[in-house]
Symmetry: C2
Subunit: 650 residues, 2 copies
Amino acid sequence: MDNYGNSQDLMVPPVEGVAGGGTAYGWGDSGQHDSSQLRGTIDPAKVPSIDLVHAWYMPSTANVGPQDMPRPVEPISLLAARNERESIQIALRPKVNWGRSGIAGAVQVQCTDLCSAAGDRLVVGQSLTLRRVVPVLGVPDALVPLDIPISQISLYPGETSSIWVSIDVPNAQPPGHYEGELIIIATKADAESTVQCLGKAEKHQLYRDIKNCLEIVEPIDGKTMDEVVERVKSATTSLRRVLLSPSFSDFFSDNGPVDMMDEDSISNLSIRLKLSLTVWDFVLPTTPSLPAVIGISDTVIEDRFGVQYGSKEWYEALDQHFKWLLQYRISPYFCRWGDSMRVLAYTCPWPADHPKSDEYFSDPRLAAYAVPYSQVVSCGDTEKDYLQREVDILKTKSHWRKAYFYLWDEPLNQDQYDSLRSMANEIHAYAPDARVLTTYYSGPNDAPLASNNFEAFLKVPEFLRPHTQIYCTSEWVLGNREDLAKDIIAELQPENGEEWWTYVCMGPSDPHPNWHLGMRGTQHRAVMWRVWKEGGTGFLYWGANCYEKATVASAEIRFRRGLPPGDGVLFYPGEVFSSSHQPVASLRLERLLSGLQDIEYLKLYASRFGRDESVSLIEKTGMYLGPERYTHEHMPIDVMRSEIFRTCQS
Amino acid sequence: MDNYGNSQDLMVPPVEGVAGGGTAYGWGDSGQHDSSQLRGTIDPAKVPSIDLVHAWYMPSTANVGPQDMPRPVEPISLLAARNERESIQIALRPKVNWGRSGIAGAVQVQCTDLCSAAGDRLVVGQSLTLRRVVPVLGVPDALVPLDIPISQISLYPGETSSIWVSIDVPNAQPPGHYEGELIIIATKADAESTVQCLGKAEKHQLYRDIKNCLEIVEPIDGKTMDEVVERVKSATTSLRRVLLSPSFSDFFSDNGPVDMMDEDSISNLSIRLKLSLTVWDFVLPTTPSLPAVIGISDTVIEDRFGVQYGSKEWYEALDQHFKWLLQYRISPYFCRWGDSMRVLAYTCPWPADHPKSDEYFSDPRLAAYAVPYSQVVSCGDTEKDYLQREVDILKTKSHWRKAYFYLWDEPLNQDQYDSLRSMANEIHAYAPDARVLTTYYSGPNDAPLASNNFEAFLKVPEFLRPHTQIYCTSEWVLGNREDLAKDIIAELQPENGEEWWTYVCMGPSDPHPNWHLGMRGTQHRAVMWRVWKEGGTGFLYWGANCYEKATVASAEIRFRRGLPPGDGVLFYPGEVFSSSHQPVASLRLERLLSGLQDIEYLKLYASRFGRDESVSLIEKTGMYLGPERYTHEHMPIDVMRSEIFRTCQS
């Protein structure tokens, strides 16, 4: 085929200079002012950092990638309730190169406390934290902690980097307006400063020289004056030579030693980004209104951290995971997979008579806990009465209302449904008010409950009753027909304690809300908006740490074959990114938290104006209208939150 | 719409453990052996680097991106003629993390000379160079030099990096088999070593302490013995305190100070990748057989490096660019754009009577040079007879056969064709054998030369004759109809010195060969394969440094608006990546060079077996069959080269 027909589209190389045409040279010239200080080697200690680096705000729902282009810096003001975390990103991109080979340059990032006029503070390191956004499979995802209060990050030529700034407002923080600053200053990279610092060999030499001096003069007692004088002279000569060595050359100057970069130049040259936050008098409930139960694979922990099932280190590792995840308003359960999707789900690895059991289950941040159907770790005694013993203890406790039993993941045929029934029977024999949770997306495939799949799916509650109380269905089943949620709910008997929960996993896929890597930020956050709109009363996610198998803590993270990237992974082992043992959250986990916080806002609004008005609010702000119609921009989220702040402020 | 119909595609979360299904946990477990040395903090000085990092070869036509997955290391053997550059890549990806926050770890990369059994050498730093592949707009493109013979690079969690290894075989290198090694060893990053090294503040304290000791004991003369003893004791106490300070804590151990990583451990722990090269007795001609003339914008140089048109620094900057580009078997011309695509093209900024003129034009590596139609830099005297004076000088020289005049880029209407004719008339009046080069993709649009566009395009030589000798047409015109090349050639009169050259610019676009960023490596290299197959005798490219305007040498590179990324850019200013002033080649420039070298191989083959056989060779190896049918793999290139080596070895 001859494509000569295209020749009407003129293919004109760009024209340079004044006479030039449309695609011409110099189009992006605005704002690039000629600075003679930028000729030759650039000393960041002498040039305003704003000439070296772009710095601008991005909302927490933005996925800031290396190719993101600078935006104008507009004043931002954040809103947060007490007991809420609010986050924002600072994007950085070098304008020029002032570094060594490999990096465009380094910047020091520091943060001040946020202070109110009344003198109240949100303290750096406690309420204010900084994390670096690190790509996973090329997509910004991992949030690796930065040192507080000052840390240094490297910028790369032609690449935008991002810093994730989080503010955790304590429960008791006085409401009011708080202000602080993020200070960015271009600097020489650490590796460059090492030129000025003593290396190991040099230091060793120095050590030997000084030691030698000591050996020359000591011991002094019993020596003649002449000998002492001679030895002291020899020693002082050595010391003088040491002082004149190149190691100390930077202190020779007539004006005495040069000092570190002084405070003045930091303040004159730095870029200062204001952080402005309004704390309002609403306190997010400590116990999440919507239980979000999230699985943690114990097997993955055992393999990656080399801890043996049931050992002291195993309990410690699980304990660390439990505590870390509680920060995110989620209710973790550990899980171990059996055959045919039988699952052993347990929130507490210790038995009910262990003090840890009460500690875990009474934690007010825990909204729901999984009770294992069988013994998690065998202690040598018989397992026979295990279940009854556990239930007998737990059902007397006030936290028993949080308990649930998760026995089987997505039963698919009559056999599996039967097994589930017999387990549930046993549980209900010991405690008639026990809640069994079952995840499903269809009825049994070998005994259709109705003539079409969706009807059969709808009939599952009738089929399973009374062996399940929490009917937990895949959001994927609904497709974009959110109205079908009403049909599901209509089948339930809330008066008998039946609830509708939902889950996402492999599906639904784009453009529907889910937590896969590469989805939009608002798409991650919308998972919880969807739950609110559809009216589910709880949520389940199958895995937060389900990486591919590795036997080294710091081994590269690989996602499992056959799953969409990010599915089953909400955080990373800290060891993958640094020597830290603290887990590293994903952006997606932060957005899950934000979604859960949004639910508390909406619940507050609903408590004043009714649930219908709360749904109407998320629709009219354009934030969420349906699984294929939700905002891609951040603005509607702020509008929704401000409206609730405005109308619900007491 | 209800997508429930999909439920036949089971959405089963992965099953962990032995009972699991297909997408199960542990699929990629092979080769990951449990090493107790990888528990806790990893010391790269104690662990074989192969446990920490993957290292594997990639061909020069591969675009190795951060998500590239490791491949098995298979022995490679390279083939090169004398006066040829052959390149290969080494890809590196961390298996685990052994670094500090931000990086997975650092590796030292070093390279040995390549030696033959006869004791001949290809020397590191001269014939062997290492460059780091740096992404531009997220695509691997810039080749930033690494230090020789040892350099350190940082690896990032979950990211593959690549090192570009080039071997330049000198003209006089004895043929034979050469072997050497690339040695990769995981190490602590520079920045980490600073933990062990003295910072400035610490060092300053040390300086003061030692100085203080000196002041205590000096001057010693005239003091009493008691006083001396007292002072010496005070000084030695101070010195002892210095030695026991934390600065020197790493030397306290009973076994004496710990030594640096020793040679033995380097050789025991490192990864050694063999480089094996056969040099054959063919010598690539110093003067390229196919002139590839490539534009360099003088305006861009003036703006970015702040050199004033015509100043001493301006001449130096142009001179540096000319010399650097000659390495790539291309014939540079500088250019300045006028109105309506009139172009001032000149290979030498000095006039013909300047000694530099002969130096430039006689350089055997230069295959063609552009003579400016008007004075490049006005020297105060009248421009009136400038052209005649220049031509009169140049036409007497033996290098005159390389001369051409490039007057107008893509004339589009009768006016422009007329201007071109009158300029050519003037030139031919002074030198009837002067060659005028004209780029075009159509006839005049206001006076169609034929009833359809392609016919009109074909008639341009008839229309322009005798005002143009080098008819330089866009490859875009041919589309995938390479057979149309015959029609173009049929219109020319080679007996009267007429030639057909081609060019690429914005077009043709993917999948046709061009040098845009993001195209395949073989697609870049195929630009020259296409020239060989179609039978053009020269090639033109409009720009090698046509970035968007910037007035700071190290300013971020931006591509011009309206152009495909990479179009008009074949190298970068070194300042963008480091403090070096040496230009940084793109991968695409290296592949242009490889393509030009391929042409020399094919020319050799054609000289033995005829041109048709050479075309048949590139077809039967699967290397190049047409603008939409060329290899995506590297293998056919090696097959083609080996076949020429086998059949043409004298």
